[in-house]
Point group: C2
């Protein structure tokens, strides 16, 4: 039986456009109090899109927190109340202009459950057809199609290291068998 | 060429024991400004420990942000300036009492590079010997050893969904061949 940490106090420090930060005091099994720094996030969806030549669609974009541009699967945040399947289809089309005939759920990850409730759903998209792109106004992306073998090699060499991208692609490969 | 987002202003909102929150204004390619909510985190190390019977050592602990207890590989945060290999060995021993003869680097993940700089290194530990546990005073853990096949099944059924656990175990399996 795992002990649940009940909040004794909860203080909202910041409510932004994307994250909300709270500091809670929780009661421990021995009756003592511990502090928890909690970042609430709307969650999102990442899409492993693989074309008929077994190439993976990746986007490279600058990520301010790490001050670097990295390869990731197309992804985006969930709007309030949005279905994660529809969100994945929307984000794939907005970022890459692609529509998929098949959209298979790969499960979700908790990117970092020690401090944030963020939950990232993942889908495998196949049967791709190319349309126009509709990027968000503050998104600047490079889109590439990289052979799956090369993607797997880059994951193992640690040149691809975004969590949803690593987890989503390795799960997709396990699924395909 | 990927555009870099240079900060025009940066405001520290919160500096806690674990996370620091800043809001930066960054300049976009068209000269407009965009806001970035940035959570800085010390990063950590997770250890995929596999025993001689091909069982994976997992810890189940309550995670306040998600209000649930989930299976994870043993892991912990990096102390300032700490070597991530030594941190991994320390955390494995503190949480599980295990020492490993072999400790192989599995690379790192960025759990959520859209809003946090957190970087989680991963190791594969084998040649395990059991000693005593020395858990942190506010950690309450259940430790289990689960057959690797069952772990992989739970990953595919989405019953194991912590990012470092999914990425670390699937990378370890790819490495073992």
């Amino acid at each position: 039986m795992i002990f649940e940490e009940k909040s004794v106090t909860s203080k909202e420090i910041f409510k932004g456009r994307i994250v909300t930060l709270k500091v809670d005091e929780v009661e421990m099994p021995d009756g003592s109090l511990a502090e928890r720094e909690l970042v609430f996030h709307p969650g999102g969806v990442g899409v492993v899109a693989i074309d008929e030549e077994d190439r993976v669609v990746l986007v490279k974009q600058f990520r301010k927190p790490i001050e670097d541009a990295i390869y990731e699967i197309p992804a985006g945040k969930l709007d309030a109340g949005e279905d994660h399947r529809l969100c994945g289809m929307r984000e794939l089309e907005e970022e890459t202009g692609l529509k998929a005939e098949e959209f298979v759920y790969l499960g979700f990850i908790y990117p970092s459950p020690g401090f944030t409730d963020e939950k990232t759903h993942m889908y495998l998209a196949t049967g791709l057809t190319q349309g126009e792109t509709h990027p968000d106004p503050d998104e600047y992306l490079d889109i590439v199609r990289m052979p799956l073998n090369e993607v797997l090699s880059k994951i193992m060499k640690n040149e691809i290291n975004d969590a949803k991208t690593v987890a989503g692609i390795l799960k997709a490969v396990s699924l395909k068998g």
